[in-house]
């Protein structure tokens, strides 16, 4: 797979299509699976990790999937390329920075990725643009079924699919929905939403998962519990709560328009102004300003930027994407200058071709 050609597109999760796509960015399901006759990754030595990788790589290669999966050995990949895959949400930060033999099998549409030798031997992931968890489940369930015919999964009658960490045991499933919630952040209601979600055992995380800050007002809502509830029940619980959050966000947007339209318009125009004229931009500031502009476009306060261009800018301005687009390895300062220049160019194109 040519990673450089991927870098010019926005990837599945920021494609920006699908139901409720102004607020729901994407849905993702991840399944944790382990081989029955091997120690878990953290207890396997280099030789055993090599065996696990070779075995899974072989079996994954034999899966009858269309389009076929392509396997990438992560050890041979540069740090920038690994970071690039993290930015596209195709591998976890843990897998990118882990030691020893490991890899990922990807489908060229970037909807399916199978991570090998993560904390568990295998992490299957399916991602869908917009609010489409059911379709994501159908996809991942099928890939899991196909693999199960070729490998012997660690499974226990009482405890379900066995995982290295007891927080994942049972279904081994983590389903998450990524939401863009700028109005709830601006109106300071987001904490209230989080507390309500925690009460019903749902977790809230930032853009790049555990421990990451909620850059660009993107939040991931996911299930905590993996044992004692079926996959269907867990998905149903998430599916039921998302429309409520969407409606809170819409109410907050209306309230902003009603009670502070001028201040809102000003904030959004300033964000766009800074993005199209600054000469040094950090990744964080870019995310925050793009979030304002995205809200402006969705509220029709700005009409000269295409939403898909905007979604693309969120990912293209990430450090590894930027360096791949520039075709050079850049240090922090150089990146900030290159990022600002890239933003100026892209936003000027937008002015020339309004949608």
């Amino acid at each position: 797979m040519n990673l450089d050609s991927l870098s010019r597109t926005s990837g599945e999760w920021l494609r920006g299509t699908g139901p409720e796509s102004d607020i729901v960015i994407s849905g993702r399901i991840r399944l944790a699976r382990n081989l029955a006759a091997f120690p878990f990754t953290n207890r396997a030595n280099a030789y055993q990790k090599t065996e696990i990788e070779a075995l899974l790589r072989d079996r994954i290669g034999k899966l009858e999937l269309d389009p076929r999966l392509e396997y990438i050995n992560l050890v041979n990949l540069s740090t920038i390329d690994r970071q690039f895959l993290v930015e596209r949400q195709l591998i976890s930060r843990e897998l990118a920075s882990a030691d020893g033999p490991r890899g990922v099998a990807l489908m060229d549409k970037e909807t399916v990725s199978l991570m090998v030798n993560e904390e568990d031997h295998l992490r299957l992931q399916v991602m869908r643009s917009g609010f489409a968890l059911d379709e994501a489940w159908q996809d991942i369930d099928r890939v899991d079924d196909l693999l199960e015919q070729r490998v012997s999964y660690a499974f226990h009658e009482d405890f379900g699919y066995l995982t290295a960490c007891p927080t994942n045991v049972g279904t081994g499933m983590r389903a998450s929905v990524m939401l863009h919630l700028p109005a709830l952040v601006w109106t300071k209601q987001i904490e209230k939403v989080f507390r309500a979600l925690q009460k019903i055992n749902l977790a809230v995380r930032g853009l790049y998962g555990e421990g990451s800050r909620p850059a660009g007002d993107f939040y991931q809502i996911s299930n905590q519990v993996t044992l004692g509830k079926s996959e269907t029940t867990i998905l149903g619980e998430i599916r039921d709560v998302i429309p409520q959050i969407i409606s809170y966000e819409r109410q907050a947007r209306e309230a902003l328009l009603r009670e502070g339209r001028q201040a809102l318009q000003d904030k959004i125009s300033r964000a766009k102004g800074t993005l199209s004229s600054a000469t040094m931009m950090t990744s964080e500031e870019t995310m925050d300003l793009l979030s304002s502009v995205r809200l402006g476009v969705n509220l029709r306060l700005l009409d000269d930027i295409n939403i898909s261009t905007l979604n693309e800018l969120f990912i293209h301005t990430q450090p590894a994407h930027l360096q791949k687009l520039m075709g050079a390895s850049l240090d922090g300062e150089e990146r900030n200058a290159a990022r600002a220049q890239y933003l100026r160019t892209r936003l000027r194109e937008g002015d020339a071709n309004p949608n």
Binding site: F155, L227, G228
Partner: protein, 170 residues
Amino acid sequence: MKCQSCSNEATVHLTSIIDGQKTEKHLCSVCAEQQHAIQHQELNLPAILHNLIGQHVGQLTDELARLTCPACGMGYMEFRAEGRLGCPHDYSVFRAGLEPLLQRIHRSERHVGKTPRHRARHARQEADLLALRQQLKHAIEEEAYEEAARLRDLLRIKEASDESGQPESY
């Protein structure tokens, strides 16, 4: 009781023992905040998990502490320290310690949901293979290559014989 720093009602009562010296502080919430008497700790998942694992073994600890998985060699105390299990067989070996923990994390100790349709071997056979694999690992580490070769061949034979009609299963 009044706050020691101002005259408001004290709502924060701190007792600290440093080098055997016990000191008490009584403060109102505003003064406590100003004096950083209350430490706001960040949410630390591994620490919480570690705590949970510790809390819920209770009197069983002694018995559990002696447990070691025959397949992967992990001890129960090692699991407590690391928060990660060593191999699938640990779930059976540490069952008594794990069930209360699972109850705390998931409010359940039994799986509901998807079940594999194809299962090549019994859990017992998987554990035997795993144990053999660990022996092989140790033989290689100790550079006992003849023993390693013997174990490798044994592992291959066992894998092949267990597969009974499912050539691709592993």
